[in-house]
Symmetry: C2
Subunit: 371 residues, 2 copies
């Protein structure tokens, strides 16, 4: 394969192949996508429609419309009991460009940044894009795939709780010990999606950290592209100048529509979805275990199950394509999440309904029995 | 002033001060904004509304929805008579992140990149963000602020035609000579907005170049955040992998709504706007000259007039604030566009109606007479 400047997402190769099979008439069960399938609340759509009718969509302030920054600040007070000033909230076009800008500022001003492996691939890819000094932290299944303070040798660290691809949730105590050791960039994009265990925000244990989050998971607004950062006051000017240059501003309609997310009724609707995801998790988790997959860490949040397939294969990348072609089930190869024993793992996503989950499990069962 | 990692836009300081004055009840004439004031075509809004009702807004392909890539490719054939394959078209969330990704790929794979000064500030700021080797080309008023082949000492060069802040349009012959000398990154974001002179695309003189463009100027869709790149085939994979990591995808609703831009009726409506901008240009240009501003290069495109104020001041930055406070007219200091004699210049934008332009000119006249 040719060398690219940054690694693409390998799941895209799976998706490509899946689409090819679908064009040929095969029905594919999608356990590979990291995108919630539920519809956004009506209130969000209504707000968008009203706005479209009422006003022209001009650029906004680089850090986002003031009203949205205020609502997000309020939400942190209500949800986590932490005081955040609206000026510390920076609205971004999805959480990705926000993360990029943060990695730049932290690596220039504070020092090296370490990140978990396995983990979300953008961490290493963005650091590479920036030519910034990153250091990998191998997180192990025996430790619930968690970063521990002892492993941190850098000035800053990226945490992800609930995590992709494992669903690991860090406790307040764990966060505290890590924040004592290094500056934390806390990727909290899956917050809101937890199953029985609360995910504390890094801001509950320290003011001196960055939160990266957004409207794409719990709030279901993926294609709308709107996220946020919460940052220490002294970082605001640098981040504003960088984001102004890199993105100008987040999509205006999405910013205004996102305001609706914080209405009581809307939040209740979103809360109810968590129960749906929990049922799917339970169904998929017990099903996978029953048919022989090992799941060293059950997910307490997000919508993924990271399964050990080393009893079936030595190469989970090839295994993913075999499963796709023979069983018609699309899954994400561990390789997408780094190099630390990832050839042993695959990721199942439960962003699809229970009927599909059941059918996928049956297909996997048949496939493994015949293999 | 504290040192930031990249420079902010100084015009934001003007805008801040203008808003402060407006809060105190002053009426300010805005000649500082680089954002068209005309409404987007109804067809675009209609398409957005229909889409909102009909479908959920999921992530799209990293390079954009296939239909939009096709329409953009068609548009290049119709407008410039050049053959572009849809796979060479990459849809981005505004042109800025596209430019960033291109600067990364070109600087890693081809070499150093030079850019004009005065010029759009993002060129130098993004190169700085990337820690990429950039080299400035001082463009002079006596040469119509144009880059000439003799001045290029690098493997690649950024051109901007029609240009910000001057409105300079390069001829086909000029583009050809430059493309023979270096790889061209052609910022064509103001294409479509020319007044009597046609702006050729770099693709008319070479296939081996990158076009950076988007829907924010001629197409009026600023806050929608959707742009595009046209790139040589061998760059597609790198750019797709980078953009996937940096932005995931462009806002879905904006991509679908942008399809409407290419309908016949819509294009006619947009073409008619050019006449509006031309009238404003003529009014502002003759007015400014009449009251004593020197305009070394009259704009043939875009919506700016770059005026020499060295007979009034030695510091156009301070002058901008004086004009704002005393005349209530907001303008952009030359400083925003680099370091090459920019203390002598200010930029006037004609993104406001003729009545405002007339009032602004009167205020400037009175201010200069009393000074």
């Amino acid at each position: 394969m040719e060398r690219l400047l940054v690694e693409p997402f390998y799941v895209m190769k799976v998706l490509e192949k899946a689409k090819e099979l679908e064009r040929k008439g095969r029905r594919i069960i999608h356990f590979e996508v990291g995108e919630p399938d539920l519809p956004v609340p009506e209130a969000v759509k209504r707000k968008a429609e009203e706005t479209l009718r009422k006003t022209e969509l001009r650029y906004t302030e680089a850090c986002g419309i003031p009203e949205l920054r205020e609502r997000i600040a309020d939400y942190y007070e209500k949800t986590y009991g932490v005081k955040v000033s609206p000026e510390q909230v920076i609205v971004t076009p999805g959480s990705s460009p926000g993360l990029l800008a943060v990695l730049k500022v932290v690596s220039e001003k504070l020092g090296r940044i370490s990140y978990p492996d396995p983990g979300y691939p953008c961490y290493k890819n963005m650091l590479k894009f920036l030519n910034a000094k990153g250091e990998v932290i191998n997180v192990e299944s025996e430790e619930g795939f968690k970063v521990t303070p002892e492993k941190i040798k850098t000035e800053a660290v990226i945490l992800n709780s609930p995590s992709n691809p494992v669903g690991t949730v860090y406790t307040e105590e764990e966060l505290k010990r890590i924040a004592d050791k290094a500056f934390v960039i806390s990727d909290e994009i899956y917050h809101g999606l937890t199953y029985g265990k609360r995910a504390p925000s890094i801001l509950e244990v320290t003011d001196n950290a960055v939160v990266v989050s957004g409207f794409s998971k719990f709030f279901l607004m993926t294609g709308w592209r709107v996220g946020w950062l919460i940052v220490p006051k002294e970082m605001v000017k640098d981040l504003a100048a960088i984001l102004q240059n890199l993105v100008i501003s987040a999509p205006t309609l999405s910013q205004v529509a996102a305001l609706a997310c914080f209405e009581e009724e809307c939040l209740r609707e979103l809360e109810a979805n968590v129960e749906t995801f929990k049922k799917r998790r339970d169904l998929m988790l017990s099903g996978l275990k029953e048919i022989g997959f090992k799941v060293p860490t059950s997910p307490d949040g997000a919508f993924y199950i990271f399964a050990d397939v080393s009893s079936f294969t030595e190469d989970s990348f090839r295994f993913s394509f075999e499963v796709l072609e023979k069983a018609g089930v699309a899954i994400t190869p561990g390789k997408d999440f780094g190099y630390n024993k990832t050839e042993r793992f695959v990721r199942f996503s439960f962003c699809t309904d229970e009927r599909n989950i059941e059918e996928g499990l049956e297909r996997l069962y048949t496939f493994l029995r015949q293999r």
